[in-house]
C-alpha cells in the first residue's frame, strides 16, 4: 500500500469518526436535510478545489480563486442590473473568470513570474475590480429559477443542484488527472519540470490552461454562490482561497508538487465540511471551528513528513502518485 493510499485510508477513518461524533452529539446531524445543507455550503470550495489540485500537483498555486469568485458574482450582479437575461449574465461571468485565469497563466508562464506572487497580486486586483463594479451595494433581485438552482433540490430528493454540478466536474477531472496523458504530464511537471520540458512536454501551455480552468471554475463557483445566497456583493467569499488550498493539502497533495490524488482531496473536502457542520450543530463558535481545521492542516503536513522519515523499507514503493502502468487502479 502506498503512502498516499494509507493517507486516504486515514481520511476515511477520520470521516467515519466525525460522522459518529456528529450523530452522537446532535439529533439533527444524521438527517437528509442536514446533509443537503452541509453539502451545499461546501460546494463552491469543492468546485474550486478541483483545478487547485491540478495546479498544486504541477508545482504552482492559485491564490486568486476567491477573488475571481467575487468578481464573477459582481459581474452577474451588474449585468443582471443592466437588464440582461440571467443565462447571458452567467455566460459573461464565466468568460470573465476564464479571462482572469488566462491573465494569471500568461503572467506566470510568459513572464516566468512565481505563481505565489502573481496570484497574490491578482487576489487583490480582482477583488478590487469587483468593488469597482458593485461598490458597496448588493444586488439580490434575482429570478426564482436562479435562486432555485442555488438552494433548491433535484426532484423530490435532498440532493442540491450544486452537488450534481460538482459530481459531473469531478468525473471530468478524475479522467483528466488519472486517465489521460495530460494528467501524466501534470505529474511529470510537478516532479521535475526541467526533465518534463526536455521530454517534449509543453510545460507552459499546460500550466496556462490549468489557470484558465481554475479561473473558469472559480467563476462557476461564483454563480453557485450568488444563486445560493441570492445576493451579489463585492466581498462575497472573501478568504475562501485559504480553505480551498487547506482542503487540497489535507487531501495529501504535496505543496512541492508531483504528488497527490483527487480521491484524497474529495475525502478531505468531506472531512472539513463534516467537521465544520458537526461543530456548528454543537454551537461551537466559528473561531474554534477555524482552529480545529487549522490544527488538522498542520497534522496533514506533518503526517506524510513523519512517515517519510520511517525506515526506507517501511514505505517501499510508496510516495509515488503515478499508478503503475497496466494495473487496474
Amino acid at each position: 500500500m502506498t503512502l498516499l493510499a494509507r493517507w486516504e485510508a486515514l481520511l476515511v477513518a477520520l470521516l467515519v469518526i466525525l460522522i459518529g461524533y456528529g450523530t452522537a452529539t446532535s439529533d439533527v446531524f444524521f438527517d437528509a436535510n442536514n446533509f443537503s445543507f452541509l453539502t451545499s455550503a461546501a460546494m463552491e470550495k469543492a468546485i474550486m478545489a478541483l483545478p487547485m489540485t491540478l495546479i498544486i500537483i504541477s508545482g504552482e498555486i492559485d491564490l486568486s480563486v476567491a477573488s475571481i469568485l467575487g468578481l464573477s458574482s459582481a459581474t452577474i450582479g451588474v449585468t443582471w442590473d443592466a437588464g440582461f437575461p440571467i443565462w447571458l449574465c452567467i455566460a459573461v461571468a464565466l468568460l470573465v473568470g476564464a479571462g482572469a485565469g488566462l491573465i494569471n497563466g500568461l503572467l506566470i508562464t510568459r513572464l516566468g513570474l512565481p505563481s505565489l506572487v502573481v496570484t497574490l497580486g491578482t487576489l487583490a486586483l480582482y477583488r478590487g475590480l469587483a468593488s469597482v463594479l458593485l461598490g458597496a451595494e448588493a444586488i439580490s433581485d434575482y429570478p426564482a429559477g436562479f435562486r432555485t438552482f442555488g438552494s433548491g433540490k433535484v426532484g423530490g430528493t435532498q440532493i442540491p443542484w450544486s452537488l450534481l454540478v460538482f459530481v459531473a466536474l469531478l468525473a471530468g477531472f478524475l479522467v483528466v488527472l488519472h486517465r489521460s496523458w495530460v494528467g501524466r504530464q501534470i505529474y511529470a511537471i510537478g516532479n521535475n519540470s526541467e526533465a518534463a520540458r526536455y521530454s517534449a512536454v509543453r510545460v507552459a501551455r499546460i500550466k496556462c490552461w490549468l489557470y484558465v480552468a481554475s479561473g473558469t471554475l472559480a467563476a462557476l463557483a461564483g454563480v453557485v454562490f450568488t444563486a445560493r445566497v441570492s445576493s451579489s456583493r463585492a466581498d462575497n467569499a472573501t478568504g475562501f482561497e485559504l480553505d480551498v488550498i487547506a482542503a487540497v493539502l489535507l487531501g495529501g497533495v504535496s505543496i512541492f508538487g508531483g504528488r497527490g490524488t483527487l480521491v484524497g482531496v474529495v475525502l478531505s473536502l468531506a472531512v472539513v465540511a463534516t467537521l465544520r457542520n458537526a461543530l456548528a450543530l454543537n454551537t461551537v463558535s466559528a473561531e474554534v471551528q477555524s482552529i480545529s481545521i487549522g490544527a488538522l492542516l498542520i497534522v496533514s503536513v506533518l503526517g506524510p513528513n513523519l512517515a517519510r522519515r520511517l525506515p526506507r523499507r517501511a514505505i517501499r514503493g510508496g510516495a509515488v502518485a503515478v499508478p503503475e502502468p497496466g494495473t487496474a487502479d
Partner: protein, 506 residues
C-alpha cells in the same frame, strides 16, 4: 647546515572513491612556499577532487596530508582555513549585495572594546590589503558592481587577511580577458615572491607555461609526473595528459554512411559559441569533443530548441527548420539525451514505463486517454532491447543504478524513433560494464541508419566510437578530423587552443 624547510602542503598517495567511481588512486602533490605549481589533467582526471581535499571539503580515503611537514587531517573547510589554505574559485563565492570590505571580513568583523563592529578600522584594513595587491577597488563598492576579475581580487584580499600561505586557484582565468589575466598573474608572482605557495589549476596550457614553476600532471585519478615547467613542452604535457588508453572499449561496427540528415551553418549564441557549422550524415557517429566550458552542450541545446540561436541556420534533410522547443525537435526527429541525468533526463519518482513513454504520451491512445497496455508494451520492448536491469517496469527509476538509469533515458529517446540522436556525456558516472553496453547500443543504432552526435569529455570514448571528430575550444570549432586523422595528440592540441601553433609547425 640546515635541512631545507618542509613543503607547505604535501599530499602523499591520496585516494578517494565516490560510489562506483575511483576519483583518485594514489596521487602525490607537493607544494613549496614560494612556487607557483600548476595542476593539469583532462576532464575527470581528478583535479577538482584534489582541490576539494585541500579545501577541506573531501577527506582522502587513504594517504596522508601534511602541513609544514606535520601529518594532519581536515575535518571541514574551517580546518583548511586554519592551516592557511585559501581557495579562489572560477566563480567567486561572495555576497553580491555587501560591499568589498564586508565581504573580506565576513563573519569576523573587527570589534571595538564595546563589542560593536569597528567599521572605520575595517575599511582602513581592507584599503591597505587592496593597496598591497596594487589594485584600485573602492572598499565600499557592492561586490555585484565588480567584474569577475575584481571579485577574484577581493577573494585574494580575503585570503591575505586570513594570513593564507597557500592559495589554490581553481580555473581562475576561465572568464577573464587577456588584460585581466596579465594583472592577475602580476599579483600571483608578487605573492609567490613574498613566500606564498600557489596551486594553479587550469586548462589553458599557454597560461600554465607562462606562470608556473612546476607542473603536476594527473590522469584518470593517478599521478603521472611532476616536473619543472622549463623541462616540459606543450606537446609532452598533452601526451602525458591523454596517455594511451584506447583498448578495453567496445569495437565500433562499420556502418554505411549516407546523406546529410542534420546540417548546421554559422550557428552562434552570444557568450556561448560562435560560427559553428557541421553536417551529420545517416549512419554516422560524429564525435564532438572539447574541454569543460568549450560550448558543446550549448550547441546541442540550441539544436534541440532549449535555447535560441542569435544567428545561423539548422537544416533537416536539406530543409531549413526552426526549432523553438523540445516538442518541435521531436517532431523533426531529433532526440537529445541530456548531460544531467537526474535534473533533465528522468522523473526520478516515476516508474520506468512512465519515464520511457513521457515524450510520446500523445501517441499512446485515442481521445487523450492513456492506453496503459500499449505503454507497457512499448516500455517493455525498449527496456528489453537495452537490457535494463530492474525488478519490473513499475520500479521507480530512483531505485536503479546509474547505468540502468542511463539506459532508461536512452530507451525513452529511442522510443521516439528519432532520425538524429544527440548524446551528451552518455557514459559519465556509469560503471565500465554498462559503458561498454552503451557503446554497443550506440554503434548498433548507427549501423541501423541513425545519425548520432556524440558529445563527450572522454577522449578515448570519442576516438573509439566516432567516424569523424569535431573539436571545440572556447566556443569555436577548432578542429575536424576523420577517424584516421583523429589521434589523441591532434584532438587535444585543438581542444586546448593550440591549433594555430600546430598548423604553423605542420
Amino acid at each position: 647546515m640546515t635541512a631545507p624547510p618542509p613543503p607547505a602542503i604535501e599530499l602523499a598517495a591520496v585516494a578517494k572513491r565516490f560510489g562506483a567511481v575511483q576519483a583518485l588512486r594514489g596521487v602525490d602533490l607537493v607544494l613549496h612556499s614560494g612556487e607557483v605549481h600548476a595542476l593539469v589533467g583532462e576532464n575527470g582526471a581528478g583535479k577538482s577532487t584534489l582541490v576539494k581535499m585541500l579545501a577541506g571539503v573531501h577527506r582522502p580515503d587513504t594517504g596522508t596530508l601534511r602541513v609544514d611537514g606535520q601529518e594532519t587531517a581536515f575535518h571541514g573547510p574551517l580546518d583548511a582555513r586554519k592551516a592557511g589554505i585559501a581557495v579562489i574559485h572560477q566563480h567567486p563565492t561572495l555576497f553580491p549585495d555587501l560591499d568589498v570590505a564586508e565581504n573580506v571580513f565576513m563573519g569576523r568583523q573587527p570589534r571595538d572594546r564595546f563589542g560593536r563592529v569597528d567599521w572605520r578600522g575595517m575599511y582602513r584594513e581592507v584599503g591597505r590589503l587592496l593597496g598591497t595587491l596594487g589594485v584600485r577597488i573602492g572598499v565600499r563598492t557592492p561586490v555585484k558592481a565588480l567584474s569577475v576579475a575584481d571579485q577574484q581580487l577581493v577573494e585574494i584580499a580575503k585570503a591575505l587577511s586570513l594570513q593564507a600561505r597557500v592559495l589554490v586557484m581553481d580555473e581562475p582565468t576561465a572568464s577573464l580577458s587577456a588584460r585581466e589575466v596579465e594583472r592577475l598573474f602580476a599579483i600571483v608572482r608578487r605573492l609567490r615572491d613574498d613566500g606564498a605557495a600557489i596551486l594553479f589549476v587550469s586548462h589553458r596550457l599557454d597560461e600554465i607555461f607562462a606562470i608556473s614553476d612546476r607542473i603536476t600532471i594527473v590522469r584518470d585519478g593517478a599521478h603521472v609526473l611532476t616536473a619543472s615547467a622549463s623541462e616540459l613542452s606543450t606537446g609532452e604535457t598533452i601526451r602525458h595528459m591523454v596517455g594511451r588508453r584506447l583498448e578495453a572499449l567496445f569495437p565500433k561496427e562499420d556502418a554505411e554512411i549516407g546523406d546529410a540528415v542534420l546540417s548546421v551553418h554559422g550557428l552562434s549564441r552570444a557568450g556561448h559559441f560562435r560560427d559553428v557549422s557541421f553536417e551529420l550524415r545517416r549512419g554516422e557517429i560524429l564525435g564532438l569533443f572539447g574541454l569543460v566550458g568549450a560550448g558543446r552542450t550549448e550547441v546541442a541545446r540550441v539544436i534541440v530548441g532549449a535555447d535560441r540561436a542569435d544567428a545561423g541556420e539548422i537544416r533537416m534533410d536539406g530543409r531549413a527548420v526552426r526549432i523553438g522547443s523540445s516538442s518541435a525537435a521531436l517532431t523533426h526527429g531529433i532526440a537529445y539525451v541530456p548531460e544531467d541525468r537526474h535534473g533533465q533526463g528522468l522523473v526520478l519518482d516515476f516508474p520506468i514505463a512512465a519515464n520511457v513513454t513521457l515524450p510520446i504520451l500523445p501517441r499512446l491512445g485515442r481521445f487523450g486517454m492513456l492506453n496503459r497496455n500499449r505503454e507497457r508494451a512499448i516500455a517493455g520492448d525498449y527496456a528489453a532491447r537495452l537490457q535494463v536491469k530492474a525488478a519490473g517496469l513499475g520500479a521507480a527509476v530512483s531505485s536503479l543504478s546509474g547505468g540502468n538509469q542511463q539506459k532508461v533515458v536512452l530507451a525513452k529517446w529511442l522510443a521516439t524513433d528519432p532520425k538524429v540522436l544527440i548524446l551528451d556525456e552518455p557514459t559519465r558516472g556509469i560503471d565500465i560494464g554498462t559503458k561498454a553496453e552503451v557503446h554497443r547500443i550506440v554503434s548498433h543504432l548507427a549501423t541501423g541508419g541513425m545519425a548520432i552526435l556524440l558529445i563527450s569529455s572522454e577522449l578515448p570514448e570519442v576516438l573509439a566510437m566516432a567516424d569523424r571528430v569535431l573539436v571545440m575550444h572556447e566556443g569555436r570549432l577548432t578542429g575536424a578530423f576523420s577517424r584516421a586523422e583523429a589521434t589523441q595528440e591532434n584532438v587535444m592540441v585543438a581542444a586546448t587552443g593550440q591549433a594555430a601553433v600546430a598548423h604553423g609547425v605542420a
